[in-house]
Symmetry: C2
Subunit: 448 residues, 2 copies
């Protein structure tokens, strides 16, 4: 990781300077949530909290960074004290958040930060990109895993991710969302995720004879080898495997008509005593292609999903926002004219009701309200220190699978899902009304 | 930067082990190219080469990483010598590439690596993600800048990027593609890119009185302040600016109907002597929205483009591939049955012809062929060392603007562009035919 306090938008720093030089730095609360779901998505699976906590724990500006900022013309009228303040700044706030791997729905805070206004403001950009990116990918993975209906899904998309580091984070999030592993070695190393890998066309085309490449590769990996079939001709490649007396644990199809090829390859393998050899498919897959292949009876055992997963290609961004809801103990909200961009004031909690093991409905309410339902935001940092234990990703993944199973089927559906019922408490609605009225009165006074 | 040699797919390492243990490590050449363009794109603008070169220069496995790999069950039959070899491995190859900021088209190599097969293979994943991501973003930026028709475009998308590091790289690529700057402070610091920032709704809603927030903010940034108008009511916000006697250099619209609001705001500013105050707009913009706003006469001076730009939202991945074209001095190719996945063998060069300052056509040919046209692949590394000077990004950006202007207008068009004429040399076609025939003969022999 190379967290830097400069990984932020400039306006966070100009606002910080303006808060400071106006002597305005009371406790403030911000909430991070997603306004609406992308097409065909009925739920999100949260991920990225661990990176958010690590960032907050290590948040600081080093002297060279401070000097860089001080040099910028835009800060020329800002007091020297502000930069001294930045130099000693550490994140000392309290953070509540939804556990990684949990289903969440629009308008529900995934994370809530309460800290001196400047601290809470400065961390906005990083928190949004850390949480919403991994949440996109965990969600996409969950969808692919659902489509695969019990077969393994592997994350193979590093080469198409938004830079090498995005590939590592995508692998992490995909594992939380239910993938069995990743091809990304750094992700495996850093996060203890199972890794998988076979071979590419290049190895095979390096050889003058395809069958020799198979034999030579299998000699180095005798226990567990997956052979790639489609460098030249997929079905003759199976003949060559048989002729060479190889017994690969798997074969991989990476181009062509996966439905007919998988059936022909399966038949050829079976008729040559290779019933135990699994078929891995990996050509431009996503949840919809997987669903369609399986509905037509494609005998594919393992799906390697690349681009569509590592970039969440059909929905590469979530409309994540980080909104001020309380300032100096008073509720605050942005009261935009366009309703879709308005947000509710006050510190919130999400209360989730279940029945017979299935999730039934959520209420977004003030933290102080009392509902006979599970509050899903938990305290994760206090006084700037982590108060939750680090959990192995394997546990996070296992818990998440259980959580996804509790979402109503109509909401889990991969196409045109129903909306999950999320209501806003009447106290919240009342509070929004009050903030609106207060503003209307002030506005009248000024404009009159 | 935190490059790690483990930022790769596992299969690069299994192939490396198989090459090594089969004593097969002659010079190999790989080429990186994009097979086809996303919808509505007629050209790509390359970016990311600098990161690719830095990675190759610093490529090495440290002892802890080697130990991690050795522990993996998949490597249990791999020789100890392989891991010793990895431990001392440095990239010693030769790299040819297209300069950053250059227009490229499908099938044209952006980068060509010649090195011992293992080295050239191991770097595949990183090179693909480094180059294709930034190329996506530089291309998207170029499109937004074209749409803005001389007005400034700023990159504001860090919060929606694929993690914090992707945000920094997106800012870099967007600048190459023609943006005037970014909101990302780390990108400004690391790459010397102009940065821009105003303030968010949170600062304004922190105050009981909107006008007080304007006054307090402007006091800290007296020379150059941009005031955000849409926290409550956009037009009354202008009244408050006038009433407070402020003379902001800009005002920002971030929600609502940007066309009608920008016209009303412009009229109100002008009638109050604020003709010099610029209008910045920043609400879910992309090249098509910008085109439409300007065609309707929206008086917007600066466009802040966020999500659509930092994620290249309509085309979040390019089908970039890295193909073996020569191995031990002999031409190689993947001869997939599906034509779209086949590729040409041999070391290539792209020859670009111009007429009256406009680009006319490209020929992809063997490096050894002779054309009376500009070869666009240049040597950038030799013996693993950089042989090109580092250029300031401002220069790269200025050169790129000139390059884009040389693309035929029909190809630059933002919707349904024409394809740029790229032909494959007859020598290349001949060579592909020979490789196919050679394979067909061998295949016959074996299957017979």
């Amino acid at each position: 990781m190379n967290n830097s306090a400069l990984q932020t938008d400039l306006y966070e720093l100009t606002m910080a300077a303006a808060y400071f030089d106006n002597d305005l730095n009371p406790p403030a609360t911000f909430e991070l949530f997603v306004r609406s779901l992308p097409d065909d998505r009925g739920y999100l699976i949260t991920a990225g909290l661990e990176q958010a906590v690590e960032y907050l724990e290590s948040f600081r500006f080093n002297p060279e960074q401070i000097e860089f900022l001080q040099r910028q013309p835009i800060f020329r009228h800002v007091s020297r004290e502000f930069f001294d303040y930045l130099g000693q700044l550490r994140f000392k706030g309290e953070v509540w958040a939804v556990e990684e791997g949990t289903p969440v729905f629009p308008s529900e805070p995934l994370l809530r930060v309460t800290a001196p206004a400047i601290e809470a403001q400065l961390v906005e950009t990083y928190l949004l990109s850390a949480l919403t990116f991994q949440t996109s990918i965990a969600t996409k993975a969950s969808r692919c895993v659902q489509a695969a209906d019990g077969r393994l899904v592997l994350e193979f998309g590093s080469r198409r991710a938004h830079g090498p580091e995005a590939g590592v984070l995508a692998a992490r999030a995909a594992y939380i969302g239910g993938c069995a592993g990743t091809s990304n070695v750094e992700a495996s190393h850093r996060f203890d995720i199972p890794m998988f890998g076979t071979l590419a066309h290049s190895f095979i085309s390096a050889y003058a004879h395809e069958e020799q490449s198979f034999v030579d590769f299998a000699r180095v990996f005798p226990d567990d080898v997956v052979i790639l079939l489609d460098t030249y001709d997929t079905l003759s490649a199976v003949d060559k495997i048989v002729a060479a007396g190889l017994r690969p644990s798997g074969v991989r199809l990476d181009s062509g008509d996966l439905l007919s090829l998988s059936k022909q390859v399966r038949a050829k393998l079976d008729s040559n005593g290779l019933q135990a050899t699994k078929i891995v498919a990996s050509s431009d897959l996503d949840e919809h292609v997987i669903t369609s292949l399986l509905s037509e009876g494609a005998p594919i055992d393992i799906f390697g999903v690349g681009t569509a997963l590592a970039t969440s290609k059909d929905a590469p961004a979530l409309g994540g926002v980080y909104k001020l809801v309380e300032f100096g103990g008073r509720p605050r909200a942005k009261l935009s004219q366009s309703e879709d961009k308005a947000s509710y004031p006050g510190r919130k909690q999400v209360f989730r009701s279940s029945e017979a093991g299935k999730y039934l409905r959520d209420v977004v309410a003030l933290e102080s309200e009392d509902y006979d339902a599970e509050p899903i935001l938990k305290m994760v940092m206090h006084d700037g220190r982590r108060v939750i234990p680090q959990t192995s990703l394997a546990k996070v993944r296992a818990r998440s699978a259980g959580e996804v199973a509790r979402i109503p089927e109509s909401v889990r559906r991969l196409k045109r899902p129903e909306g999950y019922p999320v209501s806003i408490s009447s106290e919240l609605k009342l509070m929004l009304g009050e903030v609106r009225q207060r503003f209307a009165r002030r506005d009248q006074k000024l404009v009159a």
